[in-house]
């Protein structure tokens, strides 16, 4: 198991290298530079700045320098937030995004699995159709529509929850962003769970369990849930990626000082090192979480468990 994890980690290096190279080239291919501003700098100042940030060197040198930095965890200085390094900025912003993202995933799995199981047990009844209809709606509406609608409804009209981040303490300010992020995932996971649960419930071993008198509750909890979770687990990789991209939008809408917001601001400010750093950080995160999902697969299914 440990050896397998190590192999997979090593196998991720080429992927990350490719991401770094592509991102680096795209950032440099974009028109404009970090010091293009409304106020035009005198050429000497500009040259001095570029020399200070090593931007006067040929591209391949810059790339190698950057790569060497990445290996040691140094993602370079931020061009916009002059007193901070990119690593520091990520270190400050990531905990906020992490809290948001993990709560959204947790909510998505719990609510999605519960709704899907419920629908599977009442398949082809009115209740099943209602749950699945709602799920289809949830999948179809993008986050940037859901979030403002939720704000309008619960913050502006009903005034149950705060609309923004700053100026509000406590858990209340988390609810709307988390729900906005989770809703499409709840819907998707509910549909996945329903399909796989129906499949599992028709297996022979479920009939055996019923013949043993275990009753619906124990049959579901003890026998059916674990195998029915496998498709949901495979979806976790894409789900995490979706929540990461979703958080870029949600953080902007709710004004949350998370990684997504820094990413957007970084792009607007032509803060290329920051943009590049966050892209690489996201890529590494997705690779790592996918590995985790694959390892969890072995925990759920004993037949593919590795020595």
């Amino acid at each position: 198991m440990l050896l397998y994890a190590l192999k997979r980690l090593l196998g991720a290096i080429p992927t990350l290298l490719l991401v770094i190279t592509l991102a680096f080239l795209m950032v440099h291919a974009a028109p404009g530079g970090p010091f293009d501003d409304e106020r035009v700098l005198p050429p000497e100042t500009r040259a001095a700045l570029e020399a200070a940030y090593n931007l006067d060197q040929p591209l391949h040198r810059q790339f190698l320098n950057y790569l060497a930095g990445v290996v040691t965890g140094d993602l370079g200085p931020s061009y916009h937030y002059r007193d901070y390094s990119v690593a520091e900025l990520i270190g400050n912003a990531f905990p906020v995004s992490l809290q948001l993202g993990s709560m959204a995933i947790l909510l998505a799995v719990l609510a999605g699995v519960a709704a899907g199981t419920y629908a599977a047990l009442h398949r082809n009844t009115l209740l099943d159709r209602i749950v699945m209809g709602l799920a289809l709606t949830g999948i179809s509406i993008p986050v940037f529509v859901i979030a403002p609608v939720l704000v309008l409804l619960f913050a502006v009209k009903l005034q149950w929850l705060p609309a923004g981040w700053s100026g509000n303490d406590g858990a209340g300010r988390l609810i709307l962003p988390v729900v906005s992020l989770a809703l499409p995932q709840i819907a998707y996971i509910a549909r996945l769970t329903r399909a796989s649960m129906i499949d599992v419930l028709s297996s022979d071993f479920i009939r055996t369990a019923r013949a043993q008198g275990l009753g619906t509750r124990a049959v579901i909890r003890y026998h059916a849930l674990q195998p029915a979770m496998l498709p949901v687990l495979s979806y976790m990789g894409p789900a995490i990626a979706a929540i990461l991209t979703g958080s870029v939008v949600v953080e902007e809408i709710f004004g949350i000082p998370g990684l997504g917001r820094f990413f957007v601001n970084g792009a607007l400010n032509r803060d290329y090192t920051l943009v590049l750093g966050i892209v690489i950080f996201y890529a590494a995160l997705v690779v790592l979480l996918n590995l985790l999902v694959d390892l969890l697969y072995g925990v759920i299914d004993p037949r593919i468990r590795r020595r």
Partner: protein, 579 residues
């Protein structure tokens, strides 16, 4: 009052009747066999007893257990009954056990759920039960998962789970159908020994299984009870026509006439070796040097249990899996190992019929196109009319009519689908027809008709049949000569009559003893060897059969026996003469 009383039970699905007014009773401790072919309603009857029929089933009549009505009882009332008073063993133990939970956990769960034992007490009781069903090293196997056990061991676990709560009635639905014949005997013996005072309802298509095990029997046909009575009486004097047909099919046709083969060699396989690579790098030798010499018009049956390599051998000689070593000669000419390298004429000369006919036919093609397809590839010069005429003639030969021409495979019964597969194979007038378990999935009465069809076609077409089967009764009905395989090797080769009259290899003897016979006075189905076929990944040293052989001596462990002449047979055993 009987323990179980089924009175006028009917089960239907949307107007289709599955069970039609079935009535019978089982007394406490009694063993009753419920016999019928597929679609006779035997499994539906069993599910009704446990209240496990799907919600869509329309159920009428009455099923009383210990005086209490089962039909219409609440789920909680049924749950209290299940496992503790009525338990069930299902057919396929791989599917019927949860692959995601260890077996100890699954069994312990039953005890805990019914409040019979929990924690270490439950654990001890489960381990004791696993020991009783003969699971070696039960302490360790308690933590094993179903996929880590062999088929026979899994069915032992299934039986352990059924008997764990000491029920009053045990329902076993085809408990040994998925198992090899030598393992089947072990499992049936185990059921017999362990059930003690528990009444048994044994559901099977195999009359041989009932003959030795059940006091009474009930015969079902198309959802109705056609006959019931003491097993001995029914076997001796079957009153109903359908019972007689079942019995005839089970006994097999002993008076078969096969044309004597021609003197010249048709197919000559020597030193055939088939290997697969599994799990990326491990090499699995499925066939380890098999020779076969078949004369024109001669039928050879290749008999073996799962893991014997019989199907791999067939695939190797057809070129579907290229032989790793050895060669195949057909009418004196050596055939390329890979089917793709064989010229068209050679490919047409060797044809194959699979076990699962319905799956081997393209579901999107009609019967007429399926049967005509080989002509389109190999006989391109034929025009449409000639082709249609040949298809119609061939369908008539295999016993299908014009009305079947436009049907799709899913609209055919198992027997009809196999007839289409045979028609397809015979369309090119092959010299050799390889049948890989071609009748294994069919009901007994259908099986007899298909075998008769093959024999008749052979008399007319004069081809050679290589028949791969696990069933000695079938081998006897179709072959001039039998090759018995075990773990990739020939262990015995003899003329069919000689093999049945005087088997020489201990494994052949075991197979013959283990095969259940439809005769209450001499039911067969005896446990003759222990254990199961070992993994071909690690074949035992010396004689491959020695770990299971009742006569094994030291020499068998150290020295691999050669295939040698003993009497008129070829036998791979050091001590064939003495046994």
């Amino acid at each position: 009052m009987s323990l179980l009383e089924i009175d006028n039970l009917s089960v239907g699905y949307g107007g289709q009747t599955a069970v039609d007014g079935v009535s019978f009773a089982i007394g406490a401790g009694e063993s009753v066999g419920l016999v019928g072919e597929s679609g006779s309603g035997k499994s539906q009857t069993a599910l009704a007893v446990l209240g496990l029929l799907p919600a869509t089933a329309e159920v009428r009549g009455s099923v009383r257990f210990a005086g209490e009505e089962i039909l219409g009882a609440t789920e909680s009332a049924l749950d209290a009954l299940r496992a503790t008073r009525i338990a069930m063993v299902f057919q396929d133990p791989m599917q019927a056990l949860n692959p995601y939970r260890s077996i100890g956990s699954q069994l312990g769960r039953i005890l805990a759920h019914h409040g019979l034992a929990a924690g270490s007490a439950a654990r001890e009781r489960v381990i004791a039960m696993l020991e009783r069903v003969g699971l070696p090293d039960a302490q360790r196997q308690y933590r094993a998962y179903p996929h880590e056990l062999s088929g026979g061991m899994r069915q032992r676990v299934m039986i352990a789970s059924a008997l764990l709560c000491e029920p009053e009635l045990l329902i076993a639905d085809e408990p040994t159908t998925a198992l090899d014949v030598t393992v089947q005997a072990q499992i049936l013996d185990l059921l017999e020994v362990l059930r003690q005072d528990t009444a048994l309802l044994l559901i099977t298509h195999d009359l041989g299984v009932i003959a030795g095990r059940c006091e009474r029997m009930v015969v079902l046909d198309k959802g109705r009870v056609v006959e019931q009575g003491a097993t001995r009486d029914v076997f001796e004097a079957p009153a109903h026509e359908h019972t007689r047909a079942l019995l005839e099919a089970a006994r097999g046709d002993r008076d078969i006439s096969l044309e004597p083969p021609a003197p010249e060699t048709c197919l000559d396989v020597s030193g055939a070796r088939v290997e697969y690579t599994v799990a990326g790098r491990q090499r699995l030798s499925a066939v380890r040097g098999v020779d076969m010499d078949v004369r024109a018009g001669e039928n050879v049956a290749i008999v073996g249990e799962s893991g014997s390599g019989k199907s791999s051998f067939a695939r190797g000689l057809l070129g579907l899996v290229p032989l790793r070593e050895g060669r195949v000669r057909f009418r004196g000419a050596e055939l390329p190992r890979d089917l793709d390298d064989r010229p068209r004429g050679q490919r047409a000369a060797l044809q194959l019929v699979f076990q699962d006919a319905a799956a081997s036919l393209n579901p999107q093609m009609r019967v007429a196109d399926l049967v005509a397809e080989p002509l389109g590839i190999h006989r391109k010069n034929l025009d449409g009319d000639a082709r249609r005429a040949r298809v119609a003639a061939m369908l008539e030969k295999v016993g299908l009519g014009i009305e079947h021409l436009d049907r799709y495979p899913h609209e055919l019964s198992g027997g009809q689908a196999q007839r289409v597969a045979i028609a397809r194979a015979l369309m090119l007038e092959p010299d050799v027809l390889v049948c890989d378990e071609a009748v294994a999935a069919l009901d007994g009465t259908v099986r007899e008709r298909i075998l008769e069809l093959l024999r008749r076609q052979q008399r007319e077409g004069g081809f050679t049949i290589i028949f791969i089967t696990h069933d000695l009764t079938v081998a006897r009905e179709i072959s001039h000569r039998v090759i018995v395989m075990y773990l990739g090797e020939t262990v015995e080769q003899a003329a069919t009559d000689d093999l049945f009259a005087s088997p020489a290899h201990p494994y052949t003897k075991a197979l013959l003893r283990a095969a259940p016979a439809p005769d209450p006075a001499n039911p067969g189905g005896k446990t003759s060897v222990s254990g199961e076929t070992p993994s071909p990944l690690q074949p035992p040293s010396g004689c491959a059969f020695h770990p299971r052989c009742p006569h094994a001596r030291e020499r068998c462990r150290d020295e691999a026996p050669q295939l040698r002449e003993v009497g008129r047979s070829l036998v791979r055993c050091h001590f064939a003469e003495e046994l």
